[in-house]
Symmetry: C2
Subunit: 459 residues, 2 copies
């Protein structure tokens, strides 16, 4: 019975449907399928997965160390939860959305924040606040693939719900700082830019005296500031001010030349938002977070932020880009019909993190999770099986090779797989109960009993 026969006889959608299906299957069976992954996504072979697992392990460690607990959710969500708040670009242009077989409009999540907000809203009565939650989850965005931007990527999401104080904001930035340090980054390898949406609103309306339309244009311009020339910036700002351009540009000038909060124009410096940011800086400096910069032009793309926003940048000129960011979003949980619950969060992505670690040479040496490769010499399959079983039950990861491939080919394979030890077992070894263990890196061989092997590997 061929595969085709089996497809056919299991078919129960009527003779016409089944014939069509069989034809289609035959077509597929004849033409070779592409072995490439879906465009913009990546296959993680063991050597790639090890890097990803290293990044995940640091994320898990830091999030847990601050008392955050892991949660999870389906990659599919009702589309509407993203349309409502993630911002037009993310929800409308970059989201993988479709209609399911039951007619529901669904989306593969482009980010995790709406999902965790939904989950908090669903159990708002039962949860203990402040609720500290984290996840490591895959998200998908339909973007033009390029270095550091993939259509599927993994994100750490760390969020605290139900604490509206500056303590929560400080903690989320401390978590971010700890992530960087735990990866081995030094304080001058990155900077953390901090701003506040409430301050932006104050600056636009009170300090610059702009109306809503002008303010929208100005925020957009601030966001582009580092991507355009200084002259273009001044020209476009002048246009927004219209009649008031002389006074307006002066004000902008004194605003933007400030390199610290103390340098800000008095009116801005005395605003309650600046006091809030100052309190945040005090807490962070006390906690040993260096790398802090106040940046009035920092906007952050997502629409749901309501207060503090921050972004971590690589300072290396080869990779001087935004690594990740976060902020306060007090309005999201309330959208699910629940009482509003305040929230602060951050979401580093795996791909960006990987480039950072590469550029700063911070990736640890990669080796297989397998400890020992057992090469069987001669007719001792049964004994080799027992040996492998014994080592495994002592907690050692053992690949047992039963094939009769040539030994040099086997050794080549061990190198390819980056397994640190090879153990030889033949009739003599079985008789003596002593086995030859070779350290691949040092090329040293030792003759050891099982107990000695276990001890050596365990240390």
């Amino acid at each position: 019975m061929t595969a085709l026969d089996i497809v056919f006889f299991r078919c129960n959608i009527g003779p016409r449907g089944c014939n069509k299906l069989a034809k289609m299957t035959k077509l597929y069976l004849m033409k070779a399928l592409s072995s490439q992954p879906y465009k913009g996504t990546r296959d993680y072979y063991p050597e790639d997965k090890r890097v990803q697992n290293y990044i995940f392990s640091v994320w898990h460690k830091v999030a847990k160390s601050f008392g955050y607990e892991e949660y999870g959710a389906s990659i599919l969500e009702p589309l509407e939860i993203f349309v409502a708040k993630s911002g037009q670009e993310l929800a409308n242009e970059q989201t993988y959305s479709f209609t399911d077989r039951g007619g529901r409009l669904v989306a593969i999540r482009p980010e995790m924040t709406p999902t965790v907000s939904r989950m908090v809203a669903a159990r708002r009565q039962e949860l203990a606040y402040p609720a500290r939650l984290y996840s490591i989850a895959n998200v998908m965005r339909y973007e033009r693939p390029q270095r550091g931007r993939e259509r599927e990527f993994w994100q750490l999401n760390v969020d605290i719900f139900g604490d509206d104080s500056v303590n929560a904001e400080a903690e989320i930035i401390m978590v971010s700082d700890n992530v960087m340090k735990e990866f081995g980054a030094k304080s001058d390898d990155y900077i953390i830019k901090i701003n506040n949406r409430k301050l932006i609103n104050f600056v636009m309306a009170q300090y610059l005296g702009l109306d809503v339309t002008q303010a929208q244009a100005m925020v957009k311009l601030f966001d582009r500031k580092n991507k355009i020339s200084e002259q273009d910036f001044v020209d476009q700002a002048g246009e927004i001010f219209g009649d008031q351009s002389v006074v307006g540009l002066q004000k902008i000038n004194s605003l933007l030349k400030a390199t610290s909060m103390a340098d800000l124009p008095e009116e801005v410096r005395n605003s309650s938002s600046v006091h809030e940011i100052q309190a945040l800086f005090t807490l962070l400096e006390r906690a040993g977070v260096k790398s802090l910069v106040f940046d009035i032009t920092l906007m952050r793309g997502l629409d749901y932020y309501t207060g503090m926003v921050f972004e971590v940048f690589d300072t290396n000129p080869e990779n001087s880009r935004s690594l990740f960011g976060g902020g306060r979003y007090d309005g999201l949980v309330g959208m699910f019909g629940a009482e509003p619950i305040s929230a602060v969060g951050v979401a580093p992505g795996g791909t960006m993190m990987e480039y950072f670690l590469e550029v700063h040479n911070l990736l640890p040496e990669s080796r297989s999770t397998t400890d020992i490769y057992v090469a069987v010499l001669g007719d001792v399959a049964r004994e080799a099986g027992n040996l492998a079983r014994e080592l495994r039950s002592a907690g050692i990861n053992v690949e047992l090779n039963m094939s009769d491939r040539k030994l040099d080919k086997q050794i080549k394979n061990v190198l390819k797989k980056a397994i640190p030890y090879i153990l030889f077992i033949g009739e003599e070894e079985v008789k003596a109960g002593i086995y030859t263990l070779k350290n691949i890196a040092s090329a040293q061989e030792k003759k050891l009993s099982i107990a000695e092997i276990v001890e050596l590997i365990k240390e």
Copy 2:
């Protein structure tokens, strides 16, 4: 600036588009969104995630102990790789498929085997064989949700490529058996049913003398055997045989009454497939795998199997169902234009595993990953921060509460979160450098220095 304003000013799809978008957003902003997850999927709150993480940890441990290395891939794949081989039901009726914004026909993977086969085909020259690969990955199937069947679930996939011997089949079944044992299952909590597709073919064509159409019907009937009455089975088998029904039914009878391979009709017993299964049983019994049963009616749903197939069943009458299965599929890698590479694999699912553990009372007690909750009494926020930092850098997971919630409410929260210890810090404690640590389960309090706390938690 409201969220709506921000949506609006970031809009760059022309005034008409932006107006429409703003209207839509306003609508969403007004109506409360549902806080429920997408139908048939599940939110994993920390207490649920802990159970899942326990299952994952056992999977990781067992797969690694046999020298399998982890890989990963995107959840989206070109649809065609599932249409070709997964079988009509899975690819056509249960797959989440849609057209992406670039016109590509894609699917959320309903299983992992085609993906890992694709990955092996893409690197067929570079890989070291036998290649031992595993992943823990989410898959989605559009099914009617019910207990034990969710639209998104997680699977362990363990596969060995490039070993066409019975050793590979034995190893995959040993991995499966080890998974069950590592979870604490006893040998009589489950049975492993084994069959072989080649034997099925032999029985249908040679022993029963059926033509292709009859064989297809008979395989279907065998597959349903345990779901219909004995009389119905006999009636339907008789229909398939037609004229030959007397001899045919006699033959089927002597086939099905065999409770072991030794009882099989001589013609079948002497077939090479039965010898293969016997060799497999010998290897497994030698390796201490009990719970083995030969079952000529075991078919397995997926179309790509070419040789040995097996399935693990719960023996508990409350949950007597298939837990997971696997088998040999030598044709799949070759579909990607590569040389055929032999393969054997198994894929336990998380939901089924969880029910098994529940029914057999094998789930470990659940506690938070957070070790200590720090309750701050009075004006010692700064010192509490330092204490938390010190404990964290010693590897302890600490949730620091800075809010001024009442202490009894805080203790309630610690209970809710299942954190095992609470530590109190006030001015006195700061002065003395001695803190009160309370074990929640025993209600015992101890006055300890930081070093003593670290020591106590570490053990």
